[in-house]
């Protein structure tokens, strides 16, 4: 069973959301520990995953998550329900994680230009030598086509495959990592992901495309190496 959350997503509309949050705030103010625990359990996984992407250690990531929950408690009265609750919580986390991450690295603030360069200047998502060139019989078609993976569900749930997945994600530029984590690991919608990360529709899709393509390529290399080893 993975991280995919069935509940508080983009489902309820603004007024239902506001009502739900009012109930939640009332419960929290009563000191209802179960309500708090439920909240933490429900949103914990994606918070921890995002935090880990920004800071150098698990211990620091836990601090960032704890700080985030305090900020959520202190700010929840002001939450108006215009976005989903988890989107709001995610944006608090990201603020904290990014700030802490920069502090830990002791670097200059992340420049807009550098970010654009990182996102745009990426290599093609599939190595050009996989396709036929203008000198070949079918330019633009596979030179070496991908092969169907044997028993993919089984082979992709091994420890090793998961390690390959996580390593591939760790190598992505940070914005791509954030998008693929929310969309594909946590199962958020495009709209929520955009809101949480402050991205345009196109931007979100491009980042997702690059991230997914690289992760797929990493898995393909892993499977091919596997085949050779057999």
């Amino acid at each position: 069973m993975g991280e995919q959350e069935a509940s508080t997503g983009g489902g309820p509309d603004g007024s239902t959301r506001a009502a739900n949050v009012e109930r939640l705030v009332a419960a929290l103010r009563r000191g209802d520990e179960d309500a708090f625990r439920k909240l933490v359990e429900e949103h914990g996984p994606f918070l921890m995953r995002l935090a880990l992407m920004h800071v150098p250690s698990r211990a620091i990531a836990e601090e960032v998550v704890q700080d985030t929950w305090l900020a959520v408690l202190n700010g929840i009265d002001r939450f108006e329900g215009r976005s989903s609750l988890r989107t709001w919580i995610a944006s608090i986390l990201l603020n904290n994680a990014r700030t802490r991450g920069q502090r830990e690295r002791r670097v200059l603030p992340f420049s807009f230009l550098r970010r654009r360069a990182e996102e745009g200047r990426d290599e093609p998502v599939v190595s050009p030598d996989r396709f036929q060139s203008v000198h070949d019989s079918y330019p633009g078609h596979w030179a070496r086509p991908p092969a169907e993976w044997d028993s993919p569900e089984e082979r992709l749930s091994t420890e090793e495959a998961r390690r390959v997945l996580l390593e591939a994600i760790a190598k992505l530029p940070i914005r791509q990592r954030e998008v693929i984590a929310l969309r594909d690991i946590s199962g958020w919608s495009a709209a929520e992901t955009r809101n949480a990360l402050g991205l345009s529709e196109t931007n979100q899709r491009v980042l997702l495309h690059r991230a997914r393509s690289k992760v797929r390529a990493a898995l393909e290399r892993h499977f091919e190496a596997d085949e050779l080893g057999r």
């Binding site: 993975g2 991280e3 708090f36 599939v126 086509p145 991908p146 169907e148 594909d184 997914r212």
Partner: protein, 82 residues
């Protein structure tokens, strides 16, 4: 009126637009070109399958969580908050 044949999609183009396809944001015409190409290209079908399996595997990664100690600290903070 003569029918103009829409240019066929190449494998390279398919790879480029695959996320738009999966997001359901490809314009109708391109979606047609995509699916027509797919019907006749094992390599691209395999690529699409791999992409779907990758996404599925990502969704099945074990969830992250706080350590028991961090959870305890958090609960203490909650008690202190109200």
């Amino acid at each position: 009126m003569n029918e103009v044949e829409t240019p066929k999609m190449s494998c390279k183009e398919l790879v480029d637009v695959i996320t738009e396809y999966l997001e359901d944001t490809l314009p109708t015409e391109d979606r047609g070109r995509f699916e027509r190409h797919l019907a006749g290209c094992d390599g691209c079908q395999a690529y699409l399958d791999q992409m779907r399996e990758t996404i599925r595997a990502l969704g099945h990664l074990p969830p992250e969580s706080l350590s028991a100690e961090a959870e305890r600290t958090l609960l203490e903070a909650f008690r202190g908050w109200r």
